[in-house]
Subunit: 143 residues, 2 copies
DNA sequence: CGCATCATGAAAGTGATTTTCACTAACATA
DNA sequence: TATGTTAGTGAAAATCACTTTCATGATGCG
């Protein structure tokens, strides 16, 4: 899985005439081996431990590049920070966001997707993307 | 409708030991008589025409107060600005957001709401709120 | 290796709030 | 009605989370 995504990214870099750098490889490895839904800040802090000389701007720019290459997706969960989640090929999912501990749980529901398409059709609307988030307390936080 | 919301707000103000001020009344009237999904900036500009001495910070603080009192709700549609929409009692709706012209169309779908509850239940999750937005092109922008 | 390009890091800049602060206005209470 | 206490206001400064700039450093094709 990691290898596939690394290849996708390197192919993208090459195709765009960009360069392969030590920093990009380090950030890519850190991103792929970390939690889904990481913010720039979180990834930056995680990296600083082992690579104190990597700048915030580089992490920011590289994450954008990941999104462009298709291995990551930008997300907003209302906490004011942009988060990047891993993208598997073709898959789509929505989220349960715990307002207690901040946990983000993914789920898929085909029926909901179908109904969304019906709603859009009824309004003559052409869907490009959608976003469904359920905010509340996870099983642990309901305590 | 306006009268009901004004009462709700004034009751809230009183209950919290806050004060009723000229500015709050002006902002409340402007909010209630305007488009749904207004940004702070938009409301501020609209107000400046008739009341050039009302500050941005006051509009910002008052809108927050509206949200706390329950007559408005904060929303993010990915354009980097917080928007406030009117809240009717008990009602809930979701949005179609046109990426072409920025139009925001509301819709309701009971079946989707029900399915959301099922998903939450399956994860032991207690829903507080949710957010469903379909991004794409509206009938007009599809051309 | 040479060098045209792209990349990086530190720091400055942005845009949208959010907070601070000195000054007012509300609303009991005298 | 005059006061005192407390909340509210507006202008300006401060935050926050990016985003861009710029001088310097890598890359990698020829």
């Amino acid at each position: 899985m990691k290898r596939v995504k690394k290849k996708i990214f390197h192919d993208y870099i090459a195709k765009q005439g960009l360069k392969s750098t030590r920093q990009r490889d380090i950030i890519l490895e850190a991103f792929l081996s970390s939690d889904r839904h990481l913010s720039i800040e979180e990834l930056y802090l995680k990296l600083r431990a082992k690579h104190p000389n990597i700048g915030y701007a580089t992490v920011y720019r590289t994450l954008k590049l990941f999104a462009e290459s298709g291995i990551a997706r930008e997300m907003q969960f209302g906490d004011g920070q942009t988060r990047y989640e891993h993208v598997g090929e073709g898959e789509h999912h929505d989220h349960l966001v715990c307002t207690g501990c901040g946990a983000i749980i993914e789920f898929e529901n085909e029926t909901i997707e179908t109904l969304q398409k019906e709603v859009a059709a009824a309004h003559g609307f052409l869907i490009q993307t959608h976003k469904l988030e359920l905010y509340g307390l996870c099983a642990r936080c309901r305590g």
